[in-house]
């Protein structure tokens, strides 16, 4: 059970690459790896709190008004996580800006509540929250990694705003004297890189099946 929940969260139902939920933070905060991972961790915290609360209360939540209750519980957890980040990681709070409060409207947080936590035990729900959250964090880190290397020629730049001064050594300069390729950092780059990454995942999966599935070309009757 636990193994299938983990595989489901990380790969088969990866919220970012398969279900395409939570796209706004994925595209907006993936300009550097550190920002992406920071938001990923914030999202994991929110997911753990909401999934735990909702599965613990699942027998007391009336079915008809469950969605407003979910939204309120999520809004409370996001507020708590926001104050935590504001208090202990102020630099990160300034960088992420409104994307911390916007975790409230992240579709997969309410999606996991509705699809999983309301029907399952607390233990399973916590594992589900962690694996979905890590799946999202890996996706955002991957996208951010590609954009950061192409755009700035570095990896883990500004690691100190999240892990403190001692983490400065993490910053890797991939290309010396790289002048930067602005397109990857600017908004269009996020769309293009994500499109290529999803195509890459399709390629990996079709190769794993050992037979490239030929998708039939749809013939539309009323074309010219």
């Amino acid at each position: 059970m636990y193994k299938s929940i983990i595989i489901n969260g990380l790969w088969t139902n990866n919220s970012s690459f398969v279900q395409l939920l939570g796209l706004c933070p994925l595209l907006a905060v993936s300009n550097t790896v550190v920002n992406g991972v920071g938001l990923g961790i914030a999202t994991i915290l929110v997911l753990i709190i909401t999934n735990t609360l909702i599965s613990a209360l699942r027998n007391y939540i009336p079915h008809e008004i469950r969605l407003p209750i979910f939204v309120l519980l999520i809004a409370c957890s996001v507020s708590a996580v926001e104050f935590f980040i504001k208090a202990y990681y102020y630099d990160l709070y300034m960088v992420l800006g409104i994307f911390i409060p916007l975790i409230v409207t992240n579709c997969f947080v309410i999606g996991r509540a509705e699809a999983f936590a309301i029907k399952n035990t607390v233990g399973h729900s916590i594992v589900d929250a962690i694996s979905i959250g890590i799946g999202f964090t890996i996706a955002i880190a991957l996208l951010a990694g590609v954009r950061e290397i192409i755009g700035q020629g570095t990896l883990f730049a500004n690691a100190d705003i999240m892990f403190g001064e001692s983490a400065k050594f993490l910053t890797i300069t991939v290309f010396e004297n790289y002048r930067g390729f602005l397109l990857a950092i600017l908004p269009p780059g996020a769309f293009l890189v994500l499109g290529l990454l999803i195509a890459g995942k399709n390629w990996l999966e079709s190769r794993a099946k050992k037979s490239i599935k030929i998708i039939p070309i749809k013939l539309v009757e009323n074309t010219l």
């Binding site: 706004c24 939204v71 996001v78 916007l102 269009p188 780059g189 293009l192 499109g195 999803i198």
Partner: protein, 192 residues
């Protein structure tokens, strides 16, 4: 003049979808057909404008005077949910035909991050009531423009041959990327 600049800025320069990355779920999810894209855009326009105004009133009429700004996220999401519910009731009363068209999209708007995002951004930018209202309306107009354009492209795209690996979402993202690249051309048109 300032108001005109604000409007141009929110519609084209800082387009909510392609530059600020908000409201992407509905942008990607409901853009297969032009009809539904237009329906969703109109419903969003109404809710976004009303919610931006309502959030401003809540912030400066309730949260600031009572110094309970820490309840901002919770109160804003409640205001948005109430606005959506209210819109649904009004539309059902006034025009059942419009309700038939827009009905299914209305619940989706509560989780559209553009609505909450604009409400929060207006507070961050310290806009006046009129500016908040205009920013809300301009943002929604920008959302509509991009949504309808993108839906048109995807209708064409669904009839063309695409390499198997890219068919479906990947090509949609790459199209969106090119559209975003085109919108970069508006940068500098307004200083907002």
């Amino acid at each position: 003049m300032d108001y005109l600049m604000l409007l141009i800025g929110t519609v084209l320069v800082n387009n909510i979808v392609l530059v600020k990355f908000l409201g992407l779920c509905s942008f990607m999810g409901v853009s297969q057909k032009i009809d539904s894209a237009i329906g969703l855009s109109f419903a969003t326009t109404f809710v976004l404008t009303v919610a931006a105004a309502a959030a401003w009133i809540i912030e400066f009429g309730l949260l600031k005077p009572l110094e309970i700004e820490y309840l901002r996220i919770i109160s804003f999401i409640l205001v948005i949910a109430a606005t959506v519910q209210f819109t649904e009731m009004v539309i059902r009363k006034i025009s059942p035909t419009l309700y038939q068209v827009l009905g299914i999209f209305l619940p989706l708007i509560t989780t559209n991050c553009a609505v909450l995002g604009v409400a929060l951004l207006n507070i961050q930018e310290n806009y006046s009531f009129i500016q908040s209202l205009l920013a809300g309306f301009g943002t929604a107009l920008g959302f509509t423009v991009v949504m309808v354009m993108f839906a048109g492209m995807r209708e064409r795209l669904s009839r063309s041959q695409v390499p198997a690996l890219f068919s479906g979402m990947p090509i949609a993202f790459i199209t969106a990327g090119l559209l975003a690249l085109a919108f970069m051309g508006f940068a500098g048109l307004a200083t907002h």
